[in-house]
Symmetry: C2
Subunit: 541 residues, 2 copies
């Protein structure tokens, strides 16, 4: 028996080896958003557009993005993406496009669309998996040279596999990136597909010009703003969001020669005074070399750092849309009678600053039937899948909309003629999967979204009850008006004034009166409304 | 301007570098199931238990698993897991425990709980991240030697970091694995926490003995079966589930010297005849060396392979629970009046065979209020999180339960006194994220689950309507019985027979009659019921 088991353990050992991260995602391609052909097509377009927008914004260029989708066979589509961004330097192209977990955004804390070093590489991987073809990449950085590459991924090693490469030194001056690939896909126009993604992207990025040349024709989204939003600043990690394991790695790899320098330079919001306080609290010499701390000391220092009071992270690392842009974007695309938008103050989860923005459109031509329409955005990217798993959907479903004039049964989504839009902007977005389609429901995030929704709700409620009041007023007036001719006639007989004049005066009187009543009611409501908004700051679950 | 852009591209290039897969998951720890302390504690216990069960089953050992959770500080818990499995050979321990994406299961197509080479490594990573401490691993393979390791993960390189190591050559004969770690966690007993996971694991694995020594005391789950289920067989990939990219890699790395051998040996369900047919259809010499095919040839061969008719994948790679075990498991834990279970025939998605099993418990002491309780299992592992995103939940919500006697509004979960359990068994489970808590809703999977649920529904409906009928019968009988004394008295006067005798005969008559009526009704229903089951095979969306 015992010998037998030993053999088993030896046999098991022989079967073990390492998997490359490419191999892992090839097998688990649904994790990157490639579970079905429709979603795959969306994912590829999304990764190309997100990359282009990020590159343009970082280089301070007003983005102009061209996306083409052409059907080659019933299942195979050719996708071309072209931008006017800064381009990629020649020797970096293979790694940037064809090595998973390679990039710059992973190491920087600032608001961008990409953050993982997976997106565009996932497209190349999916393309070669389903069509066996390389991806063509053409780029110039404005130096008169143009790079041409055909790239695949060596899946076993997770390294670029360069099929062809040449540099044209033709002196043509341009900058930007062009990507061409073929993939297995399916093109459907729906609420969760490419056309909707492009439409919502245009709403959220009004300074970008987007041309979408799809299977059903060309749609151009011209720029509606000519100024780029300020570039979000990169920040250092905030001490309150750091974990012990990561803290120790920072100690090991810091360039600072003493603890004071380490604390001040490697973290956000730690000044000299706070740094001294931390060292004193930990009982460790502030001049000590950070790399020389033993296990116990690093833990003591870590705990002291968590105890010292610090300012919240700075907010200039964030670039929200702003209430004005939110309203404009919605008004341009949605035919409703009432709009409201709100940008919440900056908040923090796990040390990462974030801002929540909410907007609502109500009534007008919106459908009375079914659930309200929800638009989810994170760092200006529309989220179309995994709605049920997203903090935004959960926050909407657990807000009590009945008090704000929408129908709602239990903790399901409200119904009625409304569109609710929520934008989440952060230096690090906690997506529930690598396909980046839903936000993880951290309590601090849920709370902020719900507070934003409640504020919108109160404004909506005012509008809805205003509408009801106006209807009531109309009814009341109609009753008066019905008697006016008769009263006027009687008064004419009594007073000798012509009944037409009396009638006119009576109508004027009623109108004046109605306005006064409305004003009084409005004031009363506003006061009680404000009270409510101060008191009700519900916690998320 | 142009120069400026060039500089930008150069600057961007400087910031780029590779991220190790450990670093990636450290940052995105919520992807592995570590988004909050409660879930983290569950995830660690789950990974340890799943690993132990897999190891024992593979080595044909009846599992005995001990799990201990002790609270050390308000936030820090010590977790000990110990099993009687085959153990791990000394030199493999560091890689098996402390290198992400290392293992054997990724390369094998057979039904097991682990499949990614992430699970237990994720625990070590989370432990060192939150407490800074190494994980202790003690193991023996039954050869009289015991290995002791203290392990951490070198995150930057994704390699094991051995803190200490020794081998005790004391001749003590045992085999198994003991793991000890400290993590940041929170212990709550709820429907989505450790206690429920262990309870459901015991139901689904009745041949395992599990002892759970938690903060609120010790719970022992003794074995209720003494025989291991047959070991699921490893299978080769089925041609209909393979993609071009993977097919090409198989061509490159095959040990077969000709195409015939490659097709027959490296795939499941390809015989010599089919292989010859594929080569003929592709117009490629069947004796050609697989590694010598050019790009075009490999694509032609791939297409031909997809066209040839083949048998479905074999099913002995699967180890479902079986209807009997499903019923026993539920009856042991749930106090209900009605139970039903069904194991569906084997089906296929993306070339992977799978089996769906469904069971239901109804009435009795189950709560009348709220939604039915749902138990989700995949490869005998309970799934507790991400219910909204899971194919099982979606299939339950989109089945029409009103016709089967449960309440349901629209496409939400049915309400009523019922527990619905669904088990998904496959050689490769398509989880929606690495935390393995929800199944991706592939159409073929949705369809199978819904067919299983409909079958259960029909059985439930029969029970529910039988109950209603019995109540009706009772009412009818009561009406008769009310008149019996009077009738008996009158008959006594007319017939000279004693009224007590007449009364007794009348009661007997009613009882006989009632039984007959029931039998007739039952037959009618059974026939119509069977008809329904043959006709209704709804498609999933």
């Amino acid at each position: 028996m015992v010998e037998d088991i030993t053999k088993t353990a030896e046999e098991m050992a022989k079967e073990q080896r390492a998997v490359s991260v490419s191999e892992f995602f090839e097998r688990n391609r649904h994790l990157l958003g490639y579970d079905n052909p429709t979603k795959a097509l969306l994912t590829v377009v999304k990764e190309i557009v997100d990359n282009s927008l990020d590159a343009c914004e970082e280089a301070r260029i007003l983005p102009k993005i061209y996306i083409e989708i052409k059907q080659k066979t019933p299942d195979i589509f050719k996708i071309v993406g072209k931008d006017n961004g800064p381009g990629i330097v020649d020797k970096q192209i293979p790694f940037t496009m064809a090595k998973l977990l390679y990039g710059s955004k992973f190491f920087k804390l600032y608001q961008s669309r990409g953050q993982q070093g997976l997106g565009i590489k996932g497209c190349v991987l999916y393309s070669q998996l389903t069509t066996g073809k390389p991806t063509t990449v053409i780029s110039s950085t404005g130096d008169g040279k143009t790079s041409y590459y055909e790239l695949m991924i060596d899946v076993k090693r997770n390294e670029p596999n360069i099929i062809s490469h040449r540099i044209d030194n033709d002196g043509r001056i341009w900058h930007g990136l062009k990507v061409e690939m073929e993939i297995e896909g399916r093109y459907i126009e729906s609420k969760t597909s490419v056309n909707e993604y492009i439409r919502q992207t245009a709403i959220a990025n009004p300074y970008a010009e987007i041309i979408f040349d799809g299977p059903n024709g060309k749609i151009e989204y011209p720029r509606s703003a000519n100024v780029l939003p300020p570039l979000p600043k990169e920040i250092k990690p905030h001490p309150h969001g750091i974990e012990l394991g990561m803290f120790r790695r920072m100690l090991e790899s810091t360039k600072s020669r003493n603890l004071i320098g380490f604390l001040v330079n490697d973290f956000s919001r730690v000044g000299r005074n706070s740094a001294e306080e931390v060292c004193k609290l930990a009982g460790i010499d502030q001049e000590k070399n950070p790399t020389q701390l033993n296990t116990e000391e690093s833990e003591t220092l870590f705990k002291a750092l968590k105890k010292v009071k610090l300012m919240r992270p700075p907010t200039d690392c964030l670039s929200p849309l702003g209430e004005d842009l939110l309203l404009k974007g919605m008004q341009k695309e949605i035919k409703a009678e009432f709009f409201a938008a709100i940008t919440r103050p900056t908040s923090v989860y796990r040390g990462n600053p974030f801002v929540v923005e909410c907007a609502i459109a109500y009534g007008g031509e919106l459908s009375q039937e079914g659930s309200v329409e929800i638009m989810r955005l994170s760092n200006k990217v529309p989220l179309l899948y995994q709605a049920g798993d997203c903090a935004i959907t959960k926050a909407i479903a657990t807000t009590d909309w009945k008090r704000y004039g929408l129908q709602q049964s239990g903790k399901s989504l409200p119904t009625g003629p409304a569109v609710i839009m929520v934008h989440f902007a952060s230096v690090w977005v906690p997506y529930v999967s690598e396909s980046k389609q839903a936000l993880a429901a951290y309590p601090a995030i849920m709370k902020e979204i719900k507070l934003g929704l409640q504020e919108l709700g109160r404004r909506l409620q005012k509008h809805v009850s205003g509408k009801r009041r106006a209807e009531m007023q109309k009814k009341r007036r109609k009753i008066f008006e019905r008697y006016i001719p008769e009263v006027a006639k009687s008064l004419e007989e009594l007073s000798d004034v012509k009944k037409e004049i009396i009638q006119k005066k009576l109508v004027e009187m009623i109108e004046k009166k109605a306005v006064k009543i409305e004003e009084v009611e409005e004031n009363v409501e506003e006061r009680s409304g404000r009270k409510v908004s101060e008191v009700r700051e519900e916690d998320s679950e």
